[in-house]
Each structure stands twice: as structure tokens, then as C-alpha cells.
């Protein structure tokens, strides 16, 4: 018994050290970007003094700012549409049994697993065949497809945990199905809808591949702008941009986690 405990201790130690190393591996690139965003040197990797010049340059860069605006427009529109349509879809799939239900569900989850490049190419070809000019709105339309999948997935998970009798009680007490949906079901689904939306929002902001196929020439999103810049080498103002974006997405993540945490706490009570 003592011997096996000793083994467990030893396992604890070396695996703990290895885990620590892997944590370092995960955060290394982020630390490097953060560090070099304050480095005076433009090209070399050696440290040549502290500066905030790259941040100043970033915030006065009109192309970056307009790309950011485009990205935010796309993300807000795509997530807004997906929030409504995805929630309806999740409720519909949970409520009804019909032939073709698993096919419907399977297709709605396809964007989670089919490579982005295939979706991007298919959308480009289709838009070309029906002769729709590429613009900011074609990006929105294609982003809704994968945002829908994430919102639908997370709302479905939440739905499966809900007490179905509450909605039945509302109906028994004389609420119309519409009232029961708005006043009983929707508030309970809200944490799921919000965390689904936050995830979809981050993914929409991050998407490079689908946007590069569906963007019009005047609709450059932030990932497209970043990509075209880092293709041509290392740029210190991109380091600064990374730090800003990481702080923002870290914040979004914390909000999402705290909502998730609070909703599970509430459910446990």
C-alpha cells in the first residue's frame, strides 16, 4: 500500500512538471507577442528598450480600424441572426419528432466538422453561379451557417437539462404557446443562448478562410488585413494588435465562463 502510494506521488511529480511545461508551451507564443509589442527594435529579436510606439501606430492606422469595423459588423449581424434562428432550430429539434429529423440535425452540425475551406469554396461557387456580387453581406450570410451550428449545439445542450414541466404548467395555466415560449422557455434558455453567441462571436471575428472566399474587394475584415500583412514579414504593430485582441477575447471568455458558472450554480440550488 505504502509502495503504491509512493508510486502515485512520483507520478504526481513528474506528470505535474510535464503539465507545467505544457502550460508554458501554450502561453509561450502569447508571452512572446506581448513582450515584443513593447520592443523598440523593428526587425531584430533582441531587446532594445521599452516603447509604446507600436500601440500609437496601431491606433492611428486607418486600414486596421476600418477592417476592425467591418469585422465587428459581420460578427454582430451573423451572431444576431444565428441567435434567433439557432434558438428556434434547437427548440424545434427538441420538440418535434419527424422523419428526416436526424438528417436535419446532422446537416446543421456539419459546419462544426467539415473543413472551412470546403464550405468556403462551395459558398464561393454557389454565389458565382447565382451571380450574387461579393460584399460584406455575403460574409455575414456564410458566417451565419457556422454560427448557427454553435448556437444550436449549446442551446440544445441547455434544453436537454431543462425541466419540461414548467412550460406545460404555463400552458395549463392558460398561457398561449407563444407566451409560454417567451415568458417561460426563453428566460431559462438565456444562459445557453448567450454563451453560444459569445463563442460564435469570437469564431466569426477569427475567421480568415471563409471570409477570404466570400469577401467583396471593399470588404476587408480584420483577419484578412492581418493575413495580408504577416505574409510579408514580421510587423511590430501586429504584435500590439495581438495583445489588444487577446485582452478583448480574454474578457469575452471570462464573461462567458462566469455566465456558465452562475447558471450551473443556480441549477444546483
Amino acid at each position: 500500500m505504502a509502495k503504491s502510494q509512493l508510486r502515485v506521488q512520483r507520478g504526481f511529480l513528474w506528470q505535474g512538471l510535464f503539465t507545467l511545461l505544457m502550460f508554458f508551451f501554450m502561453y509561450l507564443p502569447i508571452l512572446v507577442l506581448a513582450l515584443y509589442s513593447f520592443n523598440q527594435s523593428r526587425y531584430s529579436a533582441s531587446w532594445e528598450g521599452f516603447t509604446l510606439a507600436w500601440y500609437q501606430k496601431l491606433f492611428s492606422d486607418a486600414r486596421i480600424l476600418s477592417a476592425l469595423q467591418n469585422s465587428l459588423t459581420v460578427a454582430f449581424c451573423a451572431v444576431g441572426v444565428s441567435a434567433v434562428v439557432g434558438t428556434l432550430m434547437a427548440v424545434g429539434l427538441a420538440r418535434y419528432r419527424f422523419p428526416g429529423r436526424s438528417l436535419y440535425r446532422g446537416i446543421s452540425y456539419l459546419p462544426l466538422i467539415i473543413p472551412d475551406i470546403a464550405i468556403a469554396v462551395a459558398t464561393l461557387i454557389f454565389l458565382a453561379v447565382i451571380q450574387i456580387r461579393l460584399s460584406l453581406w455575403t460574409i455575414v450570410a456564410s458566417h451565419v451557417v457556422f454560427c448557427l451550428a454553435y448556437v444550436g449545439l449549446i442551446v440544445s445542450t441547455r434544453l436537454a437539462d431543462l425541466n419540461p414541466h414548467l412550460e406545460e404548467a404555463a400552458l395549463d395555466l392558460g398561457a398561449t404557446p407563444f407566451q409560454a415560449f417567451i415568458k417561460v422557455l426563453l428566460p431559462q434558455l438565456m444562459p445557453g443562448i448567450i454563451s453560444g453567441c459569445l463563442l460564435a462571436f469570437v469564431l466569426s471575428l477569427d475567421d480568415f478562410l471563409i471570409a477570404s472566399f466570400t469577401a467583396g474587394s471593399d470588404a476587408t475584415t480584420l483577419p484578412l488585413e492581418i493575413y495580408s500583412r504577416i505574409r510579408t514579414g514580421v510587423k511590430p504593430d501586429i504584435n500590439a494588435l495581438s495583445v489588444v485582441l487577446m485582452l478583448v477575447s480574454g474578457l469575452v471568455f471570462l464573461i462567458a465562463e462566469s455566465i456558465r458558472y452562475q447558471s450551473t450554480e443556480k441549477r444546483l440550488k
Binding site: M1, S4, G11, F12, G16, F18, T19, M22, F23, F25, M26, Y27, P29, I30, V32, L33, Y36, A45, L88, M89, G92, A94, R95, Y96, R97, Y104, I107, P111, I113, I114, P115, D116, I117, A118, V121, A122, T123, I125, F126, A128, A141, V144, V145, L148, G152, T157, E167, L171, V202, D206, F213, P223, Y227, I230, I238, L241, L245, M246, S249, G250
Partner: protein, 312 residues
């Protein structure tokens, strides 16, 4: 399961008179709830995929070009030696990434799920996957900063090191990792490690600890316990995680494109080039269909061998 009381779960009968209000309400419910998503997915996912398949059968298709009679030429081109090499390389990157992620991710997931203090587990897991929430493009860019010829790694390695010169050892030469396959493998493994750990954690957390104790009490050494209890018990999770990393790796574009060079052409990069550089849409469509088929095979394996609860 049915949450509706007003409508008994009768099979929907194709009735024309709407005076039976539960049925009418039911149809309205179908349309209102499932209609919008159905239309959107039909228009922007199903229909485009069908068009993609149709165009993959048109040889030499270019945007605005003549419509040629359909044939299998595009698919035959996929099997030319040059393109076959690209396919093999894509499989190598996806497979290599899967193996590396499994080797690095399993000890991490094991430690967090079974050895770390209970109250720290959630925090550790969240902390490990937090980098996923940052832009994937920028994380790849960070690896360029680290791995390039005059980058962070080489600067650290080649900086004057009194320790080494005292021992009479030569200075380490600069490593040329960027623009070749090692950088691609590093970047992809870095990107997919959190997914691997997340899924393995879900599977390891459910592992019955008493089995490990029993094996140990019955005289199994740690290696035997690991091979004969831990691995078989978590096999569905291992399969699910590996296949998911493999599938994602197969479609990766950013890592091979930015971290690799001309020698790391993969199927995704080839597809990208057909559409945005050389305008060979027919061949590009055929390549996309092949990629979708490869992924479908992996999904079929996932559904067969993977742990569904872990995968979701």
C-alpha cells in the same frame, strides 16, 4: 419527452382541412421553429455542396468560361503523382499532429483529471484551453516570430554563452525550422493540443479510480496498470480526440501556408490556389470533394469507435 400537451404525438397526417387546430398549430410550429434555419442551411450549405459536386464533374472549368461536357478528368488529375504527393503530405501533417498531440496531451489530461487537487481541476482545464480564444492567425504569427531565422529561438540559442565556450563546445548553429515541415508540425500541434486535452479530460474524468487501485493492489506495476486498465478504459475518448484532431488537421490552411514554404503544399493550400490564384475551378472543386470524402470517412470512424458524449 414531448413538451407539448395540446398536441398528442400522432404522426403528422397530410390533411388539407386546417380545422383540426392542434395539427394546424403543429405545422405552424414546424415552420416557425425549423423553417428559418432549414432555409438558411439549405441555401448556403446543402445547395452549394451539390453545386460543388456538379462543377467538380466539369473538366477545365474556369469562372466565366465555356461549359464543357462533364467527365471525370478533374478527379483523374487528383491522382497524378504531383497531386498524390500533396495528398500524402496532408495525411502526414494531420497524422503527425495527431500523434504529437496525443503524446503531449495525454499526460496533461491525466494529471489534471486524476492527480491534481480536485478544486483546482476546472481552473486548470480552463487555463489550459484559454489560448484557444485568441486569434488563430495571430498564434501562428507568434510562431513565425519565434521560429524564423533571426527569431526569438535562434537569438536565444546563438547568444554568447560563457557556459558552452568554457567547456570548449562550438556555438549552436541557427536552426532553419521556418518555411519547412518542422514549423508546420509545431504550429499545428500547438493549435490542436487544447482540443486533445479537453476531450481526453472528459474521458479520463469518468475513469473509475477503484480500477487503478485494484490493479495496483493485485501487483500490477504502473506501466501494466496504464496499458491494461487506463488505456482500454479511455479508448473511446482517445479515438474521438485523435480523429477530431486528424480531421481538423487535414483541413488546416493557415499553418502550412504561413509556417511552411513551397515544400509543404497541402490539399487545403492546393484548393485555395485553384480558386484564388490559378482559377481552375473544376479541379479545385474535385479536390474539395476529395477532402470532404476523406473527412467523411474519418467522421464515420468517429461515430463507430469514438465516445459520442466526449466528442460533443
Amino acid at each position: 419527452m414531448s413538451t407539448q400537451i395540446s398536441s398528442p404525438p400522432t404522426p403528422p397526417t397530410p390533411k388539407s382541412e386546417p380545422q383540426a387546430s392542434p395539427t394546424a398549430g403543429r405545422w405552424l410550429g414546424y415552420l416557425g421553429l425549423l423553417g428559418p434555419a432549414g432555409i438558411w442551411l439549405g441555401l448556403l450549405l446543402v445547395l452549394p455542396t451539390l453545386v460543388l459536386f456538379e462543377l467538380s464533374l466539369v473538366p477545365g472549368l474556369e469562372p466565366g468560361g465555356l461549359v464543357n461536357p462533364s467527365g471525370l478528368e478533374n478527379y483523374l488529375r487528383v491522382f497524378e503523382p504531383v497531386n498524390l504527393l500533396v495528398m500524402k503530405r496532408s495525411l502526414f501533417f494531420a497524422g503527425g499532429t495527431t500523434v504529437i498531440c496525443l503524446l503531449l496531451g495525454f499526460p496533461v489530461a491525466y494529471w489534471i483529471a486524476l492527480l491534481a487537487p480536485t478544486k483546482w481541476r476546472n481552473l486548470l482545464l480552463v487555463g489550459f484551453v484559454l489560448p484557444l480564444w485568441t486569434s488563430s492567425l495571430l498564434r501562428t504569427y507568434a510562431w513565425i516570430t519565434i521560429l524564423r531565422y533571426s527569431g526569438v529561438l535562434n537569438t536565444l540559442l546563438t547568444s554568447p554563452n560563457p557556459w558552452l565556450s568554457n567547456l570548449g563546445l562550438p556555438t549552436i548553429p541557427r536552426l532553419e525550422l521556418l518555411n519547412d515541415w518542422p514549423a508546420v508540425l509545431i504550429g499545428m500541434s500547438y493549435g490542436y493540443l487544447p482540443y486533445m486535452v479537453l476531450i481526453l479530460y472528459a474521458s479520463l474524468e469518468k475513469l473509475d479510480r477503484r480500477l487503478l487501485e485494484a490493479a495496483s493492489d493485485l501487483g500490477a506495476n504502473p506501466i501494466q496498470t496504464f496499458c491494461q486498465v487506463t488505456v482500454p478504459q479511455t479508448m473511446p475518448g482517445i479515438a474521438a480526440a485523435s480523429l477530431l484532431v486528424f480531421i481538423t488537421g487535414l483541413g488546416d490552411f493557415v499553418d502550412p501556408e504561413l509556417l511552411g514554404g513551397d515544400s509543404t503544399m497541402t490539399i487545403s493550400r492546393l484548393i485555395y490556389n485553384q480558386f484564388l490564384k490559378t482559377n481552375q475551378w473544376g479541379f479545385g472543386s474535385a479536390l474539395s470533394m476529395v477532402l470532404i470524402m476523406l473527412v467523411s470517412i474519418a467522421i464515420a470512424l468517429l461515430l463507430k469507435f469514438g465516445d459520442r458524449s466526449a466528442a460533443s
